[in-house]
């Protein structure tokens, strides 16, 4: 009895509700004094049953469903979905539409990286950086709003193309915002690489070697900070990335500082790409022809979300609803590394290491609880569910 009380006292639960987490998930951190000896993760608090729900919606409605997997990287989810469906349908997407997809995706990457910078700085107790980076992020939010009408869930994609064009006024607004942000980003890069106190919290903390990153299947900036050259935009160019090539940003240190540096340097790559893209925007239509019925088939759609590789598997059975859509978000790949990396670190470093992968639990949790996404038509209570399972002749558990 005494023994269990002791061991329980020194298990620190982080989540499902905890100030360090902006979204619900549950980590059980066992500590010996301040040193972490074990970590355990439990997900599912933001499960919304999107994969299941997708099977009962038609291809067009699903676009709006998948855009809502994540509130930060909504565009990239919609892009992955659209690219997959268009490949299944054999539809041609006009080059201008593909370029605008890339434009919005890169703007989204800027906004996501700046948001992450703020969150990570906050975890390190550096609230001034948090406030400044979020203030600057507003510039991108305004640009996205001007471009698509929305600050989040831009809905820029439609099947076969994009919804909004970019006119000269918007082009000017984007360039102005980027010019302003570029100077700020240099400043932030300077801060995260030279501020002595901040470096105490990042340099040499949460080191993941290249080999570890490969084995644990890390993706995105997390992997690139460990020297793994994985970037879908370069490896398998989608949308218009073959016409607007990206320079891969790789760091080798593998610690938290490298993760900061990779994301900051990616910002400059985004600025460069957007400028180049706006100067070389191909003329033409915004939408291609899209058949209403999608032929039978399977395809894989991979894109580089701000957090890493986003993987969609789509299977069509020839009807107007998909047979199966599987979404594998980058966070689930990177989360494995967190659970392994925190062991041996201080408790104070846990939020930082967790933030280092830029986790997004809404992205992660997609599948089951079916109550919220159906437009409030009906709420499914647990009792009903139990009854349902009993009627099906399955056992149930109280």
């Amino acid at each position: 009895m005494q023994e269990t009380t002791r061991s329980e006292l020194f298990t620190v639960p982080i989540g499902p509700q905890h100030p360090a987490l902006k979204e619900p998930s549950h980590f059980r951190i066992t500590v010996d004094g301040e040193i972490v000896t074990d970590a355990f993760v439990r997900l599912g608090y933001a499960h919304r049953g999107i994969e299941k729900a997708a099977e009962s919606r038609n291809w067009v409605r699903n676009l709006y469903l998948f855009e809502r997997v994540c509130g930060i990287c909504s565009h990239i989810h919609a892009t992955a979905y659209c690219l997959g469906v268009e490949r299944l349908a054999g539809a041609e997407v006009p080059p201008r539409a593909q370029a605008i997809r890339v434009l919005v995706a890169e703007l989204e990457r800027i906004h996501s990286h700046l948001l992450w910078l703020g969150v990570a700085a906050h975890e390190a107790g550096f609230d001034t950086l948090f406030m400044y980076s979020w203030r600057d992020r507003e510039a991108i939010m305004d640009v996205l709003e001007g471009l698509t009408g929305n600050r989040v869930n831009y809905s820029a994609n439609v099947l076969g193309g994009v919804k909004n064009d970019v006119d000269d006024a918007q082009r000017g607004a984007i360039l102005r915002a980027i010019d302003g942000l570029e100077g700020r980003s240099y400043h932030y890069l300077d801060v995260v690489t030279t501020d002595a106190l901040f470096l105490q919290r990042t340099r040499g903390i949460g080191v993941m070697t290249r080999n570890q990153a490969e084995v644990m299947g890390a993706v995105g900036p997390t992997a690139r900070a460990s020297g793994v050259t994985r970037d879908v935009r370069v490896d398998a160019p989608y949308a218009a990335y073959d016409r607007y090539p990206v320079v891969r940003v790789v760091e080798s240190a593998g610690d938290l500082e490298a993760r900061f540096v990779v994301r900051m340097r990616e910002l400059f790559e985004c600025y460069r790409l957007i400028r180049y893209l706006l100067d070389n925007l191909p003329p033409g239509d915004l939408r291609g022809r899209m058949p209403r019925r999608i032929p039978e088939g399977e395809t894989v759609s991979r894109v580089e979300a701000p957090r890493g590789e986003l993987f969609y598997f789509l299977k069509s059975n020839g009807s107007d609803t998909p047979e199966r859509i599987k979404v594998r978000t980058p966070t689930i790949c990177n989360l494995t590394s967190v659970v392994k990396l925190v062991i041996g670190h201080q408790l104070a470093d846990v939020p930082m290491i967790l933030a280092g992968i830029d986790p997004c639990f809404s992205c992660n949790d997609r599948t089951v609880q079916l109550d919220e996404i159906t437009g409030g038509s009906r709420i499914w209570t647990w009792d009903e569910l139990r009854r349902n399972s009993r009627e099906d002749g399955h056992g149930h558990r109280d």
């Binding site: 006292l9 620190v12 100030p19 004094g33 700085a121 107790g125 950086l129 106190l197 408790l347």
Partner: protein, 307 residues
């Protein structure tokens, strides 16, 4: 001093109501300055008072499994200790209400009592965040208390007195910040560590241990602890100003000097990232104590040369 004057001094001015009001005002100045430095709007002037009123009006939840007497009593001790200490400190530019040879030591002990109460309150509550926070609070107490005390003893050494009033008088003759810059630095940073202000706020780092030792506190207890910290902020600033910035003769000098120090403190809070608890301890014992000892050595040599 007759009983009526003493009572008035304890209850109204300079301790008591005046001190509480000043504490809330200083908390507001601190928050507002920090907000301005972080490019935020910041709270309105009555926000700290509103917070306290709100907390006092709220239900105080006493968790199961705690010692109720300690749980209720510790916040009272936590506020009473700095209020008592205020009587020995030259507040608002006036001399201390009470004074005796050696009151500096008593005052410093009284100022530590708040942190002790917070640490004990955290250990008393059975929550894990409270326990981790309490461990950190007490660890920090042991690390910054020595350098802070030593830094305050620097001017005392020159004034050849343990009495705050005498030291403040000696400080009025020349600014010790000029002759003892290292001591001033350690005293100011020590004060921040004492109050668990950023970047020394590891004991209550919200992203790790929620609210640290005070996680389980709500309502009255939390309000009293917060008030206690605010009072200690004013007292600490006064002590540092009185010892190092040429004394606090008169209300104008008092407000100017303490608010000037507060500006520096807010600036430091804004530009520094939080230290881990091991880094805090390391910083203090490796550099804080060393700096003070160097300062002592230099002071001793110079004083010896003058005499």
């Amino acid at each position: 001093m007759d009983t009526a004057t003493s009572l008035a001094a304890i209850l109204v001015f300079p301790s008591g109501f005046f001190l509480l009001a000043a504490s809330l005002a200083y908390e507001w100045v601190d928050r507002k300055l920090l907000a301005k430095l972080q490019n935020r709007v910041g709270p309105r002037w009555f926000q700290p008072l509103a917070d306290v009123v709100k907390l006092l009006a709220k239900e105080e939840v006493i968790p199961e499994g705690v010692n109720r007497f300690l749980f209720v009593g510790l916040p009272i001790v936590g506020l009473a200790a700095p209020l008592t200490a205020a009587l020995y400190i030259p507040l608002a530019g006036l001399g201390p209400v009470f004074s005796f040879p050696g009151d500096l030591i008593v005052t410093i002990y009284l100022l530590s009592l708040l942190t002790m109460s917070i640490g004990l309150a955290g250990s008393n509550a059975v929550g894990r965040f409270s326990l981790v926070g309490a461990t950190r609070t007490l660890t920090q107490l042991f690390s910054y208390e020595a350098p802070f005390l030593l830094a305050l003893l620097g001017p005392a050494l020159v004034a050849r007195s343990w009495q705050i009033g005498t030291i403040a008088e000696a400080a009025g003759e020349r600014w010790f910040i000029l002759t003892q810059p290292l001591g001033f630095l350690v005293a100011l940073i020590g004060l921040m560590g004492k109050l668990e202000l950023p970047p020394f706020d590891a004991p209550e780092a919200e992203t790790e241990v929620v609210a640290g030792a005070l996680t389980e506190y709500s309502g009255r207890g939390l309000a009293l602890f917060r008030l206690g910290k605010d009072v200690e902020l004013v007292l600490g600033l006064t002590l540092v100003a009185a010892f190092y910035l040429g004394g606090v003769e008169g209300p104008l000098a008092f407000f100017l000097k303490t608010l000037g120090l507060l500006l520096v403190v807010a600036g430091l809070q804004a530009v520094l990232a939080r230290l881990r608890i091991d880094q805090t301890v390391g910083l203090w014992w490796r550099f804080g104590v060393l700096l003070v000892l160097v300062q002592w050595g230099v002071t001793w040599l110079l004083e010896g040369a003058w005499r």
